[in-house]
């Protein structure tokens, strides 16, 4: 028998037409599922009352699969088949995964995405994530008493197309209809923004177990827009535990601990850290394998002091994100705290100090992302009254999208931080006479040269009618949907021939690389400018040389030996300059060749007119 929930006024559904929708926070360490029930967003707990599902999957020899706590227990005994933090492998190649050598897994590098060899065969990260999603779907269906209509799944704002696509694939594999992928900070803002009906510019400070993300969001009239994002892919709550762990080793003069003792001490460090959130001091009592007892007390001030540099480290990305958004700390109307690590009082204090205001902490920082996703899911399936749900979400492109043009240069089509969904079109043309095909190379990044950006996809447009160079008009349209998935199409305007590609990219850009690419884009701006100027001149030189040689081949007889030698010499000079580094000298060389061939060009022109007019009477020539 179905149990009923209270609907919004006028929003009762027909029987058997419940639109059950959930929000899922598919986290690196823990995952959650939430829904809006009786108009209130709640996280759904398992039968033991736990809302957080450890993102751990264990493949067992008997063919069964454990997910969550049961899998976590086997982490030490069966590390090879117990996959933790699979999110780090989503949409990544082996070379993108940091610290592969310290991981217990049996990796298999395969095109696109790394795979893991387990006792149940080779598994892709998509399959492993699907197990987590399936567990959450089953929990939700048991809790809501029916099949789910759809889910909103959150992803980090910096996730690239490959990682987003991998997340969607995992959801489909788990039998979930994805209503939308939502950026994690945006979800957090939804949870707070809607509850408090707030407007203005907000910062979302998300310190998770292993990663730090800072996003600047603008909320106006119910519309959310991500202005900028920044972060540190290798900074999280675990680093605070580790700092305390090192302090404990130091104090107790243990060096180095056995792996068993190390694990015990690490667990104690985490417990002590959590206790310090509510208490001024935490006792640490550990009995080591040797029978020796470690008995310490750490105070809140000591802990704050030993981890102060970590807190400071989070403020760098904060400053950069603000700068990207063109804002100062005082422009921020509120700061949303996300992630269990933000419970630490000295972090809240540092954030309060930097922004000059107390951060928002009234929602559970572990759950806020899932709650926001649930609210979004609820709105997307149409469970909210129309008058109050005229809001939609706008996210941004983390890195610019563009095309490779002649000479390995990047033409940016969609700029970084453009809001989603977006469609941008730009016209390109052919480079050679009679060119009937064109290759497109879609890249992502901030640099001017293709080699410094990330390759996303390649495709070809064929069947362009033969025309002189520069006459064809090829319109290339970039479209990024609300989930951040990219499709690129090219259309030759006169004939209508078309080609397109849905970017299922050659996976493989790490967070560090994204951060690195952004940084390099700024630091190398001048190098890039020079490199671009040189490449442009080189492309022009190639074009001029080719055109001149073609003309010499067809109309060389118009020149006497002396003239011919002069032009040949100018071409030789230009060839040498072309392979040099000086774009100004190259430009001069191109101009020289153009001057040397002026007379030749004039003669060719006369010659062809004479040929066209030969044998015709004056009155037969149409002007």
């Amino acid at each position: 028998m179905a149990l009923l929930q209270i609907a919004e006024p006028g929003m009762s559904t027909e029987p058997h037409q419940h639109r059950l929708a959930v929000g899922i926070d598919l986290g690196t360490t823990n995952s959650l599922v939430a829904t809006v029930r009786n108009s209130i967003a709640v996280c759904l707990a398992d039968d033991t009352g736990r809302a957080m599902l450890p993102s751990i999957v264990r493949y067992r020899a008997d063919g069964s699969v454990d997910v969550g706590l049961a899998a976590a227990k086997a982490q030490a005994t069966d590390p090879k088949n117990t996959i933790v933090s699979v999110k780090r492998f989503m949409g990544r190649g082996l070379k993108d995964v940091a610290h592969v050598e310290t991981m217990p897994y049996d990796f298999e590098d395969s095109p696109g995405m790394v795979r893991l060899r387990t006792i149940q065969g080779v598994k892709s990260p998509v399959e492993v994530s699907a197990e987590i999603l399936r567990a959450l779907r089953e929990r939700a269906e048991a809790s809501l008493g029916g099949t789910l209509t759809g889910a909103v799944i959150t992803v980090p704002a910096y996730f690239d197309e490959a990682q987003r696509q991998a997340t969607k694939d995992a959801a489909r594999l788990a039998g979930l209809e994805v209503l939308r992928l939502l950026n994690e900070p945006t979800a957090a803002a939804v949870a707070y923004g809607l509850d408090n009906a707030a407007e203005g510019v907000y910062a979302v400070y998300d310190l998770g177990g292993g990663t730090f993300d800072l996003s600047i969001l603008k909320l106006t009239r119910g519309v959310f827009e991500v202005l900028s994002t920044n972060g540190d892919a290798a900074l999280g709550g675990d680093d605070f535990d580790h700092r305390l762990f090192c302090w404990m080793l130091d104090q107790a003069a243990i060096d180095p601990p056995s792996s068993e003792d190390g694990r015990r001490l690490q667990i104690k460090a985490r417990e002590a850290k959590e206790l310090l959130t509510s208490c001024e001091e935490a006792p640490i009592h550990v009995k080591l394998g040797s029978g020796e007892v470690v008995d310490l007390v750490v105070t809140r001030d000591q802990f704050a002091e030993m981890t102060r540099h970590l807190v400071q480290k989070t403020l760098g990305p904060v400053r950069k994100a603000l700068r990207d958004a063109g804002l100062a700390p005082e422009d921020i109307k509120g700061v949303v705290m996300v992630g269990g690590a933000t419970r630490m009082p000295h972090i809240q204090r540092a954030v309060a100090e930097y922004f000059g205001q107390e951060p928002l902490t009234n929602l559970d920082p572990d759950k806020v992302v899932a709650l926001g996703a649930a609210m979004q899911a609820n709105a997307l399936v149409g469970n909210r009254a129309a008058d109050e749900d005229d809001w939609l979400l706008l996210d941004v492109i983390p890195l610019s999208l563009g095309l490779e043009t002649m000479g390995g240069l990047v033409e940016k089509v969609v700029p970084r931080n453009a809001t989603l969904p977006i469609a941008r079109a730009q016209e390109f043309t052919t480079f050679k006479d009679g060119q009937t095909a064109m290759a497109f190379h879609v890249v992502q990044g901030e640099r001017e040269l293709v080699a410094d950006c990330r390759s996303l996809a390649r495709f070809e447009l064929r069947g362009i009618p033969p025309m002189v160079a520069g006459a064809a008009r090829i319109r290339v349209t970039f479209q990024v949907d609300a989930d951040g998935l990219l499709s690129v199409s090219a259309r030759e305007m006169s004939s209508g021939v078309e080609a397109s590609v849905l970017v299922k990219p050659s996976y493989g850009l790490s967070d560090d690389e994204i951060a690195g690419m952004l940084k390099a884009g700024v630091e190398r701006a001048e190098d890039d400018m020079l490199a671009r100027a040189l490449r442009e001149q080189q492309v022009e030189a190639d074009r001029v040389i080719e055109a001149t040689e073609q003309a010499l081949a067809s109309d060389g007889h118009l020149l006497d030996a002396g003239e011919r030698a002069q032009i040949d010499a100018a071409i030789d000079t230009l060839r040498k300059l072309r392979d040099g580094k000086d774009h100004r000298a190259l430009k001069t060389g191109i101009e020289t060749l153009a001057r040397e061939t002026d007379e030749f060009a004039a003669r060719r022109m006369d010659n062809s007119i004479r040929a066209a007019l030969a044998g015709q009477k004056i009155d037969e020539i149409q002007v």
């Binding site: 028998m1 149990l3 209270i6 029987p15 108009s39 209130i40 707990a45 048991a142």
Partner: protein, 107 residues
């Protein structure tokens, strides 16, 4: 007679209204659809209509439109848990038969 809430239902309704931040009570009603004739309606109420009947049960206002009342007379709304699922259940003495899911019924 009228319509009542069980103590558990009243407690949950009051809690939901408080968290929702607005609402004067809940509306119980029926509409003609569903696989077995009539279907229940359960909604928050922000504004009562002139013709509405209002009952008080454990301090929670239960609002019913007069057309629905004959079908609901004597009903008690309960809040129950079944495994992980939880929600409201109509205990309606007027019901002759209902579909397996309990969302619709005949009188």
């Amino acid at each position: 007679m009228g319509v009542t809430l069980s103590a558990s239902a009243a407690k949950h309704v009051a809690g939901f209204i408080a968290k929702r931040g607005k609402g004067v009570g809940i509306r119980l009603g029926v509409k003609t659809s569903g696989c077995s004739g009539m279907a229940y309606k359960l909604e928050f109420v922000d504004e009562t209509q002139d013709e509405d009947l209002v009952f008080d049960s454990h301090g929670v206002k239960v609002i019913i439109d007069p057309k629905s009342l004959p079908y609901l007379e004597g009903t008690e709304l309960d809040f129950v848990r079944e495994g992980l699922n939880e929600g409201f259940k109509f205990n309606n003495p007027n019901v002759k038969d209902q579909c397996g899911c309990g969302e619709s019924f005949n009188v």
